[in-house]
Symmetry: C2
């Protein structure tokens, strides 16, 4: 199919240079109009992008959701005008000229960096450097996984990435290229904008890497090319497409701000408008005689033809895809539809009933593994993995087989000690569609992948982070491995659901919630240590769905309300028993997800929290708890880093015990 | 001097194998006693470590604070028993046998991972993989900087790092080795434990990198060696020491768990005790006939001799260092002594007076630059830098010159787009002593270096993070670059001071506080946009030192208290003026540092916060604000990610305006 996509080189056509200059002109004009932005990269990479879009990229601008389109990822997101220019020129729906004129303005679909969801054709949100490269590994991986499941006629596409010096300086680039090299993702092609310039000046101020040798060391096919020689670029892309056994790097030597005669090749073109004089000079230099934002018809037509170049391929794909049922086809986008949700719900109910009945004390990481054991068979799109903590995280089940370069029909990924690469790849997998990724590490190492978690949240992607060993309950590994501030740090992030289940039953419930959250990523904070079953009476309803609920009401009115999450809910229950012996009536509220609770009607929240004095308990930093505790509230938790010792001793050492909760409750009751 | 350190190979000596076996035996015994830990790495790397300590490492166990000692960094911190064994065997003060017997127990100085400060000889806290490698780059850099300032007789030492597969899979490893290669840190030597095993199993499950080629691509000198052949290891170390123009990697092919006959070479030895049977079998295999924790006298003596091997060199150094004055010598450890604090205070007072008088509206990143302009001359140990945002962060002054491989007498580092590598290097520089590092990036990118910020805090190091563009005030770059949750996420971390100054005067004050915090790292959250001078009357006292203070009292008693930080303090002042027109008396409290405020006496805190209803305003997530606002408090801030538009429009769009603050204040007053 790939061959049919290429425009024959003999066809009469508008000169390459004119088409590339259209990108340059629009980019410098838009940045100038916004009086803010980055003209250098779009001008430097216009030739490479023109060759890619015109001769190779499999896409149909009129059908941007075509599941088998090639993906184009602008990892160097600051060059957003390159992408917006291309989307406008090729005729993507919604990307009118007005959008370019309103670059970086409130309400436009052309923000400073490309934001996923703002316009069709923006495959991912980029800007934080290296993230797009990480995403692209996930996209290329999803492509191979789905190819193995559906065959070449349904899924068989390339993933192209435009990456900058900055992308390749960020550590995430190493994790991404190392993982891609290991998995031999032959349909991943990185176009490196090798312009020798970063914000501070020439790159030799800060970096001396031989990038080509570095990629080769990670198992990549590599080429160097003059990024302003269209035939050389085309030959390099061609060779990279033919090399299917390894991912490919094409180091494109370019001149940043190409065409701006006085500023090109310097950091001056990187992140500021060129200014009216230099733009005029660039117009002269490039031979671009048209007014701002004007692309003459013959050039625009040539670009629009490019935008429609993939129409026949799209239609052929439609034909091929007609063999799939409607459901299977829709699941190439989102595998969790209404039917899947019903299947999931049935599994969860059954697992919950088993947990309630069995009554077994179980670490929530183990409960999670049992939930997965039941879920994987009904949800084949679920792709598991861990950043080298598989056994500890409980992320792998008997239903899993290891994905490798030789087996993409499998469903479990050893991401290696690469939390950041894993998270960025999961974003890419979710964005690609057709798969539902989850991946494990220790909760403390959310710090290592936080920039990608943020992008899961910002893009509203269903990515599930299985983060175990969620407190000092981790024990002997000590303070470097014990999260203290991480729950608060994650709860501070918009559009992220942080779940901390209290027992196996809640663990099953939060898995259901995470899977059903199509537009919100989830953190599952799970224990290393065993937790008693608190929900011993089965309830078909998902009680965790409201974020917090009264686990145990106080008979005859409350004297005090104990609020807790995760492993500390059992302490609260124990404390309530102690208090009962003193004649103090304590209710226990389990709060598995603050975000969902905050979204409940005020009346529900007030009923759950109650009017009695409150005591919160969580083996974590206090930050954020005052929201629930009120002015007189008391909190039992951590106010320092942890320590290295057996877990039981640590809870005593840091005063996180039922006795202490009861004591605080008594004091709260006394003070009213 | 290096030559004098080596033990002549002809000296009569205890067999290498016996000495290495002492490490193996202690490690497996301690892990077994703790019933928890990682025996595999210490057993695998015992040969390499023995060669290093016995023949090369410049140290004197009795004088662990010798400023010119070689640094030994155990980046693979899970192998902590390797380090503890070495410290015990060579006779470091405080590391008695009892400590090894109490490995991983509460109150011992032998936690699961090495914790800086627990015992002499632990050069840095490691465990989170790759961090030690990052620290070592900072240490090796500090060594060169100080060498350039003081000469070879005062500072001239090596930095050795033991790194694992895991360290090299983490992204931070790329930033670290790329920076080290660029700066040609020839006295940095990495010993890579190339054992082909990670937690999930053989490394080929997840990684196929050619590490030697990869380091070479970043400008390193490289060798491969059999890690169990002491002469080969010695030759490789020798060659690496002789190569002074490039950092060196020695890939030591080892067998994890070497000596455990049934488990060696497998992941089973990585992270769990070997078990009594396998330990017995290992004793037989190794020919180690002694009971648990017992090292026979002749072997212990040989090790103790090793520990004293550097005594003469230490004494020679003492002699050389006697030419330094007492102050200069003490400053090799901590450059900020009482005299320096006085100098700093004088500078700050002067700068503050200038700001108050000048009355110029200034972005706090610009004020910070002006403060630095005045500070650098009085504090030559201050080493600046930025992760490729020098101009934006205002981290470079006229007093700075770029550090390069050719000029270590300079004082400004272009860290490249390597926030994580920068932060880890700054930790290493602070730990090394003799320099005071600060480095800049955007506040949003604290996410990229959060694991290292956490280690600054956990180790109590004076590292100053200059994090600018601290809100939606960043403007057009949009949501990927606008921090929302970062202040909360950082405030949640123990032992970290988060400063958000309201104007130039506060900016000067928080610089003073950050420099004087010997045991606490600081985040300076600074604006992109201009801020009016609010402290127009000069006060010699550092008002920010109490964390929060009444910037403007309400005459005749308060109707409402407005609490704000940073750029929003000006909004609160404006709102107070509006309220005054309605006859509502509003006090304005500036809260540049919550952590310092929380540490004030309750009476002070209550006086500042007042009894009137409170309204908080900060262009950030609400999480944490309830602590200050009380039950009836209201908050004006962000509850979503930002957007791309000019800053002024964004503040209006998100409702963070003086009008809105006034409105909330009126509502608060009405409700009482």
């Amino acid at each position: 199919m790939a061959e049919t996509m290429r425009k024959p080189e003999t066809a009469p056509e508008v000169a390459h240079r004119d088409m590339a200059n259209a990108i340059r002109a629009l980019s410098m004009d838009a940045v100038q109009a916004a009086n803010s932005g980055h003209p250098g990269m779009p001008m430097g990479m216009a030739d490479v992008a023109t060759v890619l879009f015109r001769r190779f990229l499999k896409f149909d601008a009129a059908n941007p959701d075509w599941p088998d389109r090639d993906r184009f990822v602008l990892s160097a997101g600051h060059g957003s005008m390159l992408l917006y220019s291309l989307l406008y020129l090729t005729g993507y729906p919604g990307m009118e000229l007005d959008q370019l004129k309103n670059f970086r303005q409130l309400g436009s679909h052309t923000p400073g960096h490309p934001e996923y969801g703002e316009a069709p054709g923006i495959e991912t949100t980029t800007g934080p450097l290296g993230q797009g490269l990480g995403n692209s590994v996930g996209m290329a991986l999803a492509e191979r996984l789905l190819n193995a499941r559906h065959g070449d006629d349904i899924v068989d596409h390339f993933t192209y990435v435009l990456a900058s010096d900055g992308c390749l300086m960020e550590g995430i680039s190493h994790e991404a290229i190392s993982l891609a090299g290991h998995l031999k993702l032959g349909k991943l092609i990185v176009l490196f904008d090798d312009n020798h310039i970063s914000i501070d000046g020439p790159t030799d101020l800060a970096v001396s890497d031989d990038q080509v040798a570095r990629f080769a060391a990670c198992g990549w096919h590599t080429t160097r090319v003059d990024g302003h020689d269209p035939e050389a670029v085309a030959a390099a892309i061609e060779a990279s497409r033919e090399e299917t056994g390894r991912p490919s790097l094409i180091a494109c030597r370019t001149v940043i701000g190409y065409g701006a005669p006085n500023k090109q090749g310097t950091a001056d073109t990187h992140g500021a408008p060129l200014g009216a004089d230099e733009i005029a000079a660039a117009r002269a230099e490039l031979g671009w005689t048209y007014p701002p934002f004007e692309v003459p018809d013959h050039i625009l037509s040539a670009w629009r033809e490019t935008g429609a170049r993939g129409r026949a391929a799209f239609e052929a794909w439609e034909e091929a895809a007609s063999r799939l049922g409607a459901q299977e086809r829709a699941r190439l986008h989102d595998p969790i539809d209404a039917a899947a949700r019903e299947d999931i719900a049935a599994v969860i109910r059954k697992v919950k009933a088993g947990f309630s009945e069995g009554g077994e004390k179980l670490a929530s990481r183990k409960s999670s593994q049992q939930v997965l054991e039941a879920l994987v068979p009904v949800l084949p799109a679920l792709i598991g993995g861990s950043a080298d903590l598989t056994g500890s995280n409980g992320t792998k089940t008997k239903q899993h087989r290891d994905v490798s370069a030789e087996d993409f029909a499998a469903n479990y990924i050893h991401y290696g000690v690469r939390e950041h690469g894993m998270a960025a790849a999961m974003n890419g997998m979710a964005l690609h569609g057709g798969v539902v990724p989850y991946g494990g590490s220790f909760l403390v190492f959310t710090d290592y992948c936080r920039p990608s978690i943020r992008l899961s949240a910002l893009m509203g992607q269903r990515v599930i982070y299985v983060m175990t060993h969620d407190s000092i309950g981790l024990g002997e590994d000590g303070p470097t491995h014990q999260p203290v501030e991480h729950l608060a740090a994650l709860r501070a992030m918009p559009n992220l659901n942080v779940y901390r289940p209290a027992d196996s039953v809640e663990c099953a419930e939060v898995w259901e919630l995470a899977l059903n959250s199509a537009d919100t990523p989830s953190i599952l904070a799970l224990t290393r240590q065993g937790l008693p079953i608190l929900r011993s009476e089965h309830d078909d309803a998902n009680l965790s769905a409201r974020g917090a609920y009264v686990l145990r009401e106080a008979d005859g009115g409350r004297d005090v309300t104990l609020l807790a999450t995760g492993s500390e809910v059992a302490l609260a229950v124990e404390a309530a028993d102690m208090l009962a012996q003193d004649g103090i009536r304590a209710a226990v509220v389990s709060m598995p997800c603050w975000e969902l609770f905050r979204a409940q009607p005020r009346e529900y929240r007030e009923r759950v929290l109650g009017a009695a004095p409150r005591v919160g308990v969580e083996a974590a930093a206090a930050l954020g708890w005052h929201e629930w505790l009120g002015a007189s509230g008391r909190f039992v938790g951590m106010d320092s880093f942890g320590a290295s010792a057996p877990a039981g001793q640590l809870f005593k050492h840091f005063g996180i015990t039922a006795e202490r909760v009861a004591e605080e409750a008594r004091a709260a009751v006394r003070k009213g």
